[in-house]
């Protein structure tokens, strides 16, 4: 062994870059890492960029946020404004609000940084949400990625926490009313609600402590947790390697794409600058949170059409939808001398609780129903998992109904309809919206699968109409090449798994429930086309294809 190594001449780097790499490597030992990652393959798809947008928004948030901390003062002490914004000169306000105004009007680029920070925050939460929708609808949460799905869900909650704590910091009228609502919700919590409210605000609302406490959470605790979760998230991405969309040459044992260096690194790195540029454009031309229009916080005034930032909207909308009384029956009840504020508690906790619980549990629910414990690295096209897609759309529509309810007053004024009617409609949609969404989505997904099947078996429409000798008109279909066809037929279509007895020969109640769900999931299915069917389609014409389909699968 040693003889062999002395016989070979030592490897000498030939280029300057090579020598620098070698110098660093000799001191920190990075060659193993570079060998592992330098040419690591990443699959490419536009829908994989949402996670990148979230990561880059977070970097921009750290950069712009650090700038803002140099000038922001989170004190709630009273002061009289003496800055560049004339309409508020001499007005009594908190130091926090005054320093936010100074950032906007007296510090060059301060307004720009505030705008960048707020737009990046909105984009951060939005891109996380869209990224999670992508992961859900493509089934990327399946083994081995269940835990990373949970980490992603935690990141979504942390992002909302970061957003809300930051939103309140300027201590303006709008965010103050937001805090007032939070205070009202906290007070509705049984037993400890009043205490939590007093502990959070350091006494009665609004007190003089809340802004500096939120500031600490906003610039230290929450970002540190987000950073930690991002590290865990990306570490698991590296361990699992990225998922890929189905297609020719792609399977669960490989990963097809571009090598990290140089193509993928260049694309991803360049994309950071593009995200930054787009946020800068938004900050330049679209005003966000013009705090100088709202004035300092005062418990008495409120402006009509108040809106929270978009990601808190669904909770606010749920608060609006819940009726406080049914005729003369009050939803708020007193039992044994204690108040149960169900008209606040239920809408504040139940919808968000259901959404997040189902979201966190879904990978395990589907694994239990399908008994599928295999590793999946190839994604599902959403149409090829009709029931999952329908569940996702039902949840999405439910969320959107609550979200729309947060703007019920604006809907009423913009469309000139009665506010009460908007609320009644949204209350109805709260219950039937998800059901409609489920049914429609499932039918659309099955229809798209049937269309895929038809294209795979009969080819694509060419638009060329031919008249046959006996007078019939037909449209010529061009057969697909094998790569395109494989994309349409290369998927799994799980079947109903009936209940099976356990080792004691008993079919447990749990197993019966599982079998019921399995039937609900996979009763309606479209099987992928097979070579035999293609053969039949060509040999016998269309009728044979109809006959070829199994009794349970749908015909076209």
């Amino acid at each position: 062994m040693s003889a062999a190594s002395t016989a070979e001449p030592a490897f000498v780097a030939k280029t300057k870059t090579g020598r620098i790499t070698d110098f660093v490597d000799a001191r920190v030992g990075g060659s193993g890492i570079l060998r592992e990652f330098g040419r690591k393959v990443f699959p490419d798809h536009w829908s994989f960029m949402f996670g990148e947008v979230a990561l880059y928004s977070f970097v921009i948030l750290l950069l712009s946020g650090t700038f803002l901390t140099f000038f922001f003062d989170p004190s709630m002490a009273e002061t009289h404004y003496d800055g560049g914004y004339v309409p508020l000169k001499g007005v009594e306000m908190s130091v926090a609000y005054s320093s936010s105004l100074n950032i906007s009007f007296d510090i060059r680029g301060g307004l720009f940084m505030r705008q960048v920070h707020h737009w990046a925050a909105l984009l951060f939460v939005a891109s996380i949400a869209v990224h999670m929708l992508r992961v859900f609808f493509t089934g990327a949460f399946r083994r081995p990625r269940e835990m990373n799905w949970v980490v992603g869900g935690v990141l979504l909650i942390l992002a909302m926490a970061a957003g809300f704590t930051g939103y309140s910091l300027p201590d303006d009228l709008l965010s103050g009313n937001g805090l007032r609502i939070i205070d009202g919700v906290i007070k509705s919590i049984p037993v400890i609600g009043t205490y939590i409210s007093f502990f959070l605000f350091g006494g009665e609302f609004p007190g003089t402590a809340i802004i500096s406490r939120l500031y600490m959470l906003h610039i230290l605790l929450v970002p540190a947790l987000i950073l930690l979760m991002i590290v865990v998230h990306l570490f698991m991405v590296v361990v699992h390697k990225h998922t890929q969309y189905p297609g020719p040459g792609r399977n669960d044992n490989n990963v097809v794409g571009y090598p990290l260096g140089p193509v993928y690194a260049a694309k991803a790195g360049g994309f950071f600058f593009i995200v930054f540029g787009v946020i800068a454009l938004m900050a330049a031309f679209f005003t966000i949170n013009p705090i100088w229009n709202y004035g300092p916080y005062d418990p008495s005034p409120v402006s009509a059409g108040t809106q929270p930032d978009w990601y808190i909207g669904f909770v606010d909308g749920a608060l609006r939808l819940m009726p406080g009384t049914f005729g003369d029956w009050h939803v708020e009840q007193v039992f044994f001398g204690h108040v149960f504020t169900f008209n606040v508690l239920l809408p504040a906790l139940v919808p968000a609780g259901i959404l997040f619980t189902v979201m966190f549990m879904y990978p395990w629910i589907e694994r239990w129903v399908t008994k599928d414990d295999r590793e999946h690295h190839v994604l599902d096209r959403p149409r090829n998992a009709p029931t999952r897609t329908a569940i996702g759309m039902a949840g999405f529509v439910w969320y959107c109904v609550m979200w729309a309810a947060a703007g019920s007053d604006l809907i009423a004024t913009h469309f000139g309809v009665s506010l009460n009617d908007v609320t009644y409609w949204l209350r109805a949609l709260f219950f039937i919206g998800p059901v409609i969404a489920f049914v429609v989505t499932k039918r659309v997904a099955l229809a798209l699968q049937r269309k895929d099947r038809e294209i795979a078996l009969h080819g694509r429409e060419t638009g060329r109409i031919v008249r046959l000798p006996h007078g019939e008109f037909i449209e010529v279909h061009a057969p697909l090449d094998e790569y395109k066809r494989y994309k349409l037929v290369g998927f799994e279509s799980p079947q109903v798994l009936p209940a099976v007895p356990n080792e004691h020969g008993v079919v447990t109640r749990k197993e019966k429930r599982r079998a019921f769900l399995s039937r609900w999931f996979f009763e309606d299915r479209v099987a992928p086309a097979t070579p035999a069917e293609l053969e039949a389609a060509h040999g016998h014409g269309h009728e044979a294809v109809e006959a070829a389909e199994g009794s349970r699968s749908l015909t076209h």
Binding site: R180, I274, G277, D298, P299, A304, V489, A536, R552
Partner: protein, 356 residues
């Protein structure tokens, strides 16, 4: 219909039924053949792409210059106008956008047009290997065995107890985050002080209101006398004591038993803090005598003692009993007869102790 090129050998004419039997599948044809780009074959196109990338980087330089010029050349001064700030903000943003988008689009164009675009396939490795797994399980077993924790339950149980209790101080130390609530939420500034009734004054300037100033159909935003002179906790007191004052035709009011004397000639005062989650109920619809909360649209009917007629609130707005003093100013005859604002756990017992 045309020839087809799936590699599978032809089957006999019988059609296999999809379903229970092993269904044969299409063979994976592998990664599609690589298609060359224009820049791969035509040196002119490659040169053109190179110039485009350089141009985009050049645009970035221009953007950086725009930013610097906007930062140094535009003077905000002492009393800068909104227009100046708007101009500077727009130019700083455009400069940054050009600087960033120039670099970003340049690099992406470079990668897409000029860098090799061969898709490659890489094997996935198992997340763990059987050998590792067995070794790991053995190591964990050995560690547990060497601690002897299974054989010595006394150590295990006392450790569990100690560890379970140890975090309690970390919770308890936050006890001074706030004072105890006691009955602070049950009282407002409206309670008469030393037998002197508080006047109703205008929000925000604090001038007292004469009953004769309040015409039918008008509404006043009201704060208690002395609020503006408070040294500490002004906002805390204001958050509980703000009141809406309105005058209606006395015939349209329907006071319940015991509340006939709470108004004066059709003038009534109600807490402005919504009983839902505490927003100010700031909208008064003069024609219908409805009060509307702009946050969650709870609607209260003045003619029914502010009963909830729509929206998420569950309780009526508390009424402030008012009268007129010797000089004709409106005064509160007592504090509210129930806690104002959103409900809380102890609210009912507070209300009972106020009225006992």
């Amino acid at each position: 219909m045309g020839n087809h090129s799936d590699g599978s050998p032809n089957h006999s004419g019988t059609v296999a039924t999809a379903g229970q039997n092993e269904v044969e599948k299409f063979q994976d044809p592998g990664i599609p053949p690589h298609r060359l780009r224009l820049a791969d074959t035509d040196p002119k196109a490659a040169k053109r792409a190179e110039r485009q990338v350089a141009l985009l980087f050049g645009i970035s330089v221009v953007g950086t210059l725009i930013f610097l010029v906007a930062y140094f050349a535009i003077d905000l001064g002492d009393d800068s106008s909104i227009a100046t700030i708007r101009l500077q903000n727009a130019l700083l943003g455009v400069g940054t956008a050009f600087a960033m988008l120039g670099i970003g689009t340049g690099i992406v164009h470079w990668a897409k047009a000029l860098m090799p675009d061969h898709e490659v396939s890489e094997e996935r490795h198992a997340i763990r290997y059987e050998e590792d797994r067995q070794a790991a399980v053995r190591i964990v077993d050995d560690i547990v065995e060497e601690t002897g924790i299974k054989r010595r339950p006394l150590i295990r149980n006392t450790l569990l107890g100690a560890v379970a209790l140890a975090p309690l101080p970390a919770v308890a130390i936050f006890g001074d985050l706030g004072p105890r609530p006691d009955d602070k939420l049950a009282h407002t500034m409206w309670a008469p002080q030393d037998g002197k009734r508080k006047r109703l004054t205008r929000d925000p300037d604090g001038t007292p209101i004469k009953a004769s100033d309040v015409t039918i159909g008008s509404a006043f935003h009201v704060i208690p006398e002395g609020l503006n002179e408070l040294e500490e906790g002004k906002l805390n007191e204001k958050a509980k004591s703000v009141v809406l004052l309105m005058r209606l035709d006395p015939a349209s009011l329907n006071p319940s038993a015991g509340r006939e004397e709470w108004g004066y000639n059709g003038i009534v005062a109600y807490s402005k803090i919504c009983t839902h989650v505490g927003c100010p109920v700031a909208l008064y619809e003069q024609q219908t005598h409805h009060l509307l909360c702009p946050c969650h649209q709870s609607t209260f009917d003045l003619t029914q003692e502010c009963k909830v007629i729509f929206g998420p609130a569950s309780r009526p707005l508390p009424q402030l009993p008012i009268a007129v003093d010797d000089e004709g100013y409106l005064v509160a005859t007592s504090d509210f007869h129930e806690p104002v604002g959103p409900s809380y756990w102890e609210r009912d017992s507070h209300e009972r102790s106020i009225n006992s």
